[in-house]
């Protein structure tokens, strides 16, 4: 009995010294870098419940971020309600959630409400966190890739070009054997950010061939068109219809043929790098709230052929200043994780998104460091 107790004491002592050693080691390492130290300290103390709401496009990425962040911070629970961009912004502005996910930017009146909602006068910031190329997919036997400019795509989706061997398509694809199959246009019948980005691309880049405005509800005059509810249904319909063309999140393009878009003088197939490059090629929105507000006006007309202009950029909207220190710590720690290489890699794996370029990621982290508590 005695021996048993003694060995117990020894074990405890050993464990104590070990954990002490671990403590000093982790405290010493970042001594030179004060900001890293403060985040480290915050990381270890974090506890609580962080709720977000917004765009459903980020849902699977958000699942990965939540899982990753919660496993690093066992006392934190992160929740995300994929109510849609509009609903998320509304809840954020009403103060119901500390951050929102959104495919679109705040409008003028929402910016104004954000100033009232957030502590201080700084208002809200957009942080691009989720970049995802949208692929134009098609189903033609034996053809994996074709080249098209925005004008031709607009004419196809508007029903002005109705067969695959049309001169407008053939002239851009010398050497590809195009059948005379009728083109079936497949579109998203539900309201979605993908449709919004796609129609925005057509409106901006097609030189007026797309006579409609960018909208979340795809509308077309094409006679031979089929609507499908959700990405899966669009991909499914395109795969089962010979001669179909549609658009979907690139991660879901799978075995279907994809269109390389004409940018400048070259044709650019979708890729994670090219999708991320469009951000570098785009200016900040004119209504952006200072230089810390990374609200991009995506320039779909860019001639920089390293960029893929048909890209969905989804933001996290956060306050520039939070009333409550715990809330600020939770939000910034979570968002830093999201913007980190690790977080972006997790999203890329889970949702097939394009990771943020390193400099943008660093910029986001710097902005998050400036966010203060009142």
């Amino acid at each position: 009995m005695k021996a048993f107790t003694r060995s117990g004491v020894v074990l405890t002592a050993a464990a104590l010294s070990l954990s002490l050693a671990a403590c000093t080691a982790s405290n010493e390492a970042p001594a030179g870098d004060s900001s890293a130290e403060s985040t480290d300290a915050a990381m270890t103390e974090l506890s609580g419940n962080l709720q977000g709401a917004g765009a459903s496009s980020q849902e699977s990425a958000m699942d990965a971020w939540r899982a990753g962040f919660q496993s690093a911070n066992a006392d934190v629970t992160v929740g995300y309600d994929p109510v849609g961009s509009g609903g998320g912004i509304e809840q954020f502005l009403a103060g119901a959630v500390p951050f929102a996910g959104s495919d679109g930017l705040l409008d003028e009146s929402e910016y104004a409400t954000a100033v009232e909602r957030c502590s201080g006068d700084g208002g809200a910031y957009h942080l691009p966190m989720y970049i995802s190329p949208v692929a134009v997919i098609f189903n033609l036997e034996g053809v994996d890739s074709i080249n098209l400019d925005a004008e031709t795509i607009a004419n196809i989706f508007d029903g002005k070009i109705t067969t695959w061997d049309d001169e407008a398509i053939a002239s851009q694809n010398a050497g590809v054997e195009l059948p005379s199959t009728n083109i079936t246009v497949v579109y998203r019948s539900d309201s979605s950010g993908t449709s919004d980005n796609f129609t925005d691309y057509l409106e901006q880049a097609s030189n007026g061939a797309w006579p409609y405005e960018a909208t979340k509800e795809f509308a077309t005059a094409a006679d031979q068109s089929v609507g499908a509810d959700g990405t899966s249904a669009v991909v499914d319909t395109v795969s089962t219809t010979d001669g179909a063309i549609g658009y979907a999140d690139a991660s879901r393009a799978a075995s279907l043929g994809t269109v390389a878009l004409k940018v400048g003088e070259e044709y650019v197939p979708y890729s994670a790098e090219a999708a991320a490059a469009i951000i570098a090629a785009s200016p900040l929105s004119e209504s952006a709230n200072g230089e810390n507000d990374l609200a991009y006006a995506i320039d779909r007309t860019t001639t920089d052929s390293s960029a893929y202009p048909l890209t969905l950029v989804s933001y996290h909207i956060v306050c520039s200043q939070y009333e409550d220190e715990t809330e600020r710590a939770l939000v910034t720690a979570f968002e830093k994780y999201v913007a980190s290489e690790e977080g972006q890699a997790a999203a890329a794996e889970a949702a097939g998104s394009a990771p943020l370029p390193a400099d943008l990621s660093a910029q986001v982290t710097a902005i998050l460091d400036e966010i203060a508590a009142a």
């Binding site: 459903s56 994929p82 109510v83 849609g84 961009s85 509009g86 609903g87 912004i89 509304e90 109705t162 009728n182 079936t184 019948s189 539900d190 309201s191 979605s192 950010g193 909208t215 979340k216 509800e217 509308a219 006679d223 031979q224 068109s225 089929v226 609507g227 499908a228 509810d229 249904a233 499914d236 319909t237 089962t240 219809t241």
Partner: protein, 332 residues
């Protein structure tokens, strides 16, 4: 329901006051009254909720609402009221297709089970039909999209080729029925979904036909079909109408199957072989809800209110038809 059976009920209620079962009797009276009241309260609560939540959208001018809600486009002839109009039309059209297809089949099934099939087969078949009612609508939707729609497409093409001159079967402009995701497909799947309800209720009604009536008809030399026409149908008419209306109620509110099958659009078109022409209220709400902002949700709830009113009207109509005919039959 003869007078001799009624005599026990006319005994004075006071006699039950000291009866051993009096407490239980009172308990069940309150329980059943409570259940009845609960339904009324729920209905009133739903109606109030719909009205209150829909009000911001209803009271706003069309142009203003169009600016704030992305799917309402007054400039394209799609104001809230116009959308509701298109959707009510689509909902009723698809439900009527379903009803036209399902009613004859259901009555046939019910007659077969009640009057033609050997008893053992009838029982098994009855269970099978009831089983159909237990299949979730999302399964019907998946089956419809993956199996039925591609299967029907050549048939639609044939229909369009030979009967295309009838406006409802007119093919799309190119003359080719390039997709089966049209109103007719949605109607067919809905028909399959409502067959169990209609046939189960009709079957029960047919089984209630007084044996004496049937035997009298047969004794007068009627064939089986004539017996059914003379004895079973007149007796079961109100029951059949009630069953049909129950089916219609389900068809009107069905969401998932329609959502997955139809390629939606907003028009008053009668062309049931063309995609992008019709949609139902329930499916439209499901399509737009995920990305709708607050006013968008208000507008969608206004559409829900319209569906609520239609369903209520259909049920009241059914009640009225049944009650008007009840004196001629013993079904009630």
């Amino acid at each position: 329901m003869t007078t001799t059976q009624q005599s026990p009920e006319t005994e004075p209620a006071a006699d039950y006051g000291t009866h051993p079962g009096a407490a239980a009797n009172r308990f069940f009276k309150w329980l059943s009254t409570g259940a009845g009241l609960l339904i009324l309260t729920t209905l009133a609560a739903v109606a109030t909720f719909l009205l209150v939540e829909a009000w911001p959208a209803i009271s706003m001018s069309a142009a203003e609402l169009g600016e704030k809600v992305s799917f309402i486009k007054p400039e394209n002839g799609q104001s809230l009221l116009e959308i509701v109009g298109f959707l009510v039309y689509g909902t009723v059209l698809i439900s009527v297709i379903a009803l036209l297809l399902a009613t004859p089949v259901s009555i046939g099934i019910a007659l077969f089970i009640s009057h033609f099939a050997p008893r053992r087969l009838a029982q098994g078949l009855g269970y099978l039909i009831d089983l159909l009612a237990a299949v979730p609508s999302v399964v019907y939707g998946l089956w419809g999209v993956a199996v039925l729609v591609p299967f029907l497409q050549p048939f639609y093409q044939w229909l369009a080729d030979y009967f295309g001159w009838i406006p409802i079967f007119a093919p799309p402009q190119s003359g080719e029925v390039f997709t089966g995701r049209v109103a007719l497909s949605a109607g067919i799947v809905l028909a399959i979904m409502i067959i169990p309800i209609i046939s189960a209720v009709s079957r029960e009604v047919f089984l209630q036909t007084p044996k004496l009536h049937e035997e009298a008809a047969l004794a007068m030399g009627a064939t089986r079909w004539e017996m059914i026409r003379m004895a079973v149908f007149p007796f079961g008419r109100s029951g059949m109408i009630g069953a049909t209306m129950l089916g219609l109620g389900r068809a009107l509110g069905e969401t998932m199957a329609v959502l997955m099958i139809i390629s939606p659009g907003l028009t008053f078109s009668a062309h049931i072989l063309q995609p992008n022409q019709h949609n139902t209220i329930a499916a439209y709400i499901a399509l737009q809800f995920p990305e709708a902002n607050a006013l968008g949700v208000n507008s969608l709830i206004a559409m829900g209110l319209a569906l609520f009113v239609i369903t209520l009207l259909v049920n009241m109509l059914a009640r009225w038809v049944v009650s008007r005919r009840s004196e001629f039959s013993g079904a009630n």
